[in-house]
């Protein structure tokens, strides 16, 4: 077996292949930052376990509103967490809908329905992003 170097072109599938790995690892990292920061902010005594899990996956102040935290606006609700939430929404939604597209295209193959399917998933993706960013910024 002779070795040869393959220079991959920057196709859509190749970019999404890379993006899936990067976004997946980033989501695990963002969740780790969320849970570690929660403990640094005093989650051990002020937050119960379901609240901590909600905060880990989406650090939105509404997720910790029913806890023993005296003032949620101190540390738990600021621009840093808004950036974190937007990153989680972007990575999660894009990773998820791209995965859905890949699985569906594996089943139907390349056909007349492929552009329709891609258009539909693209609209769902934009809609989810808009809803996510709206919730993060205006609540």
């Amino acid at each position: 077996m002779s070795s040869r170097t393959v220079q991959p072109g920057l196709s859509f599938e190749y970019v999404m292949w890379i993006f899936t790995r990067i976004s997946g690892l980033s989501l695990i990292l963002l969740a780790a930052i969320g849970v570690i920061s929660a403990f640094a902010l005093g989650a051990r005594t002020q937050v119960d376990l379901p609240t901590l899990v909600r905060w880990t996956f989406f650090p939105n102040p509404n997720h910790v509103i029913n806890s023993n935290i005296p003032d949620v606006t101190l540390g738990w609700a600021n621009a840093f967490w808004q950036v974190m939430q937007i990153l989680i929404v972007f990575f999660g939604v894009t990773h998820g809908f791209n995965g859905l597209r890949m699985v569906l295209e594996d089943f139907i193959g390349q056909s007349i329905a492929t552009p329709l399917l891609r258009g539909f998933i693209f609209l769902l993706w934009i809609f989810s992003l808009v809803i996510g960013v709206y919730v993060v910024i205006f609540s």
Binding site: L25, G92, G96, L100, V103, E105, I131, V135
Partner: protein, 130 residues
């Protein structure tokens, strides 16, 4: 470019790929399930917050129930750990020869985390503190 293959579901199950094949299938199933369940939860939470819809609130009551959480926790932890294994082996492709060992390691990590989560969920359900 899809391969032209005409293999039914049950014929496909007879393919003896072993552990990595089952991990691949479970990864796809849990991925689709996560888009479905977490997506529904996100949209339900949006309408619960913005319009106070009873239907959306009921969806979230089902989603947050401990029986449903046992399923969701399996989906999320498995997909996360398996995706981490795939990404790590893709970063260092020379270790792909150890993918079966990596899969065993993955289950060794998965079982304690999942068992502890299920224990806590069931304990809280029985004692009624959740």
């Amino acid at each position: 470019m899809g391969l032209k293959r005409r293999v039914g579901f049950f014929a496909g199950l007879k393919y003896r790929g072993g552990g990595p094949m089952w991990a691949w299938m479970l990864h796809r199933i849990t991925g689709i399930a996560m888009v479905l369940f977490v997506g529904t939860h996100v949209f339900a939470s949006f309408f619960m917050q913005q319009t106070g819809s009873d239907f959306a609130t009921n969806i979230n009551i089902v989603y947050e129930s401990w029986i449903f959480q046992i399923v969701v926790v399996f989906i999320v932890i498995f997909h996360g750990l398996n995706g981490m294994r795939i990404a790590i082996l893709d970063i260092w492709p020379k270790y792909q020869v150890f993918q079966r060992e990596a899969l065993w390691l993955q289950w060794l990590v998965f079982i304690p985390i999942y068992a502890l989560t299920v224990f806590i969920l069931v304990q809280r359900a029985i004692t009624g503190s959740y």
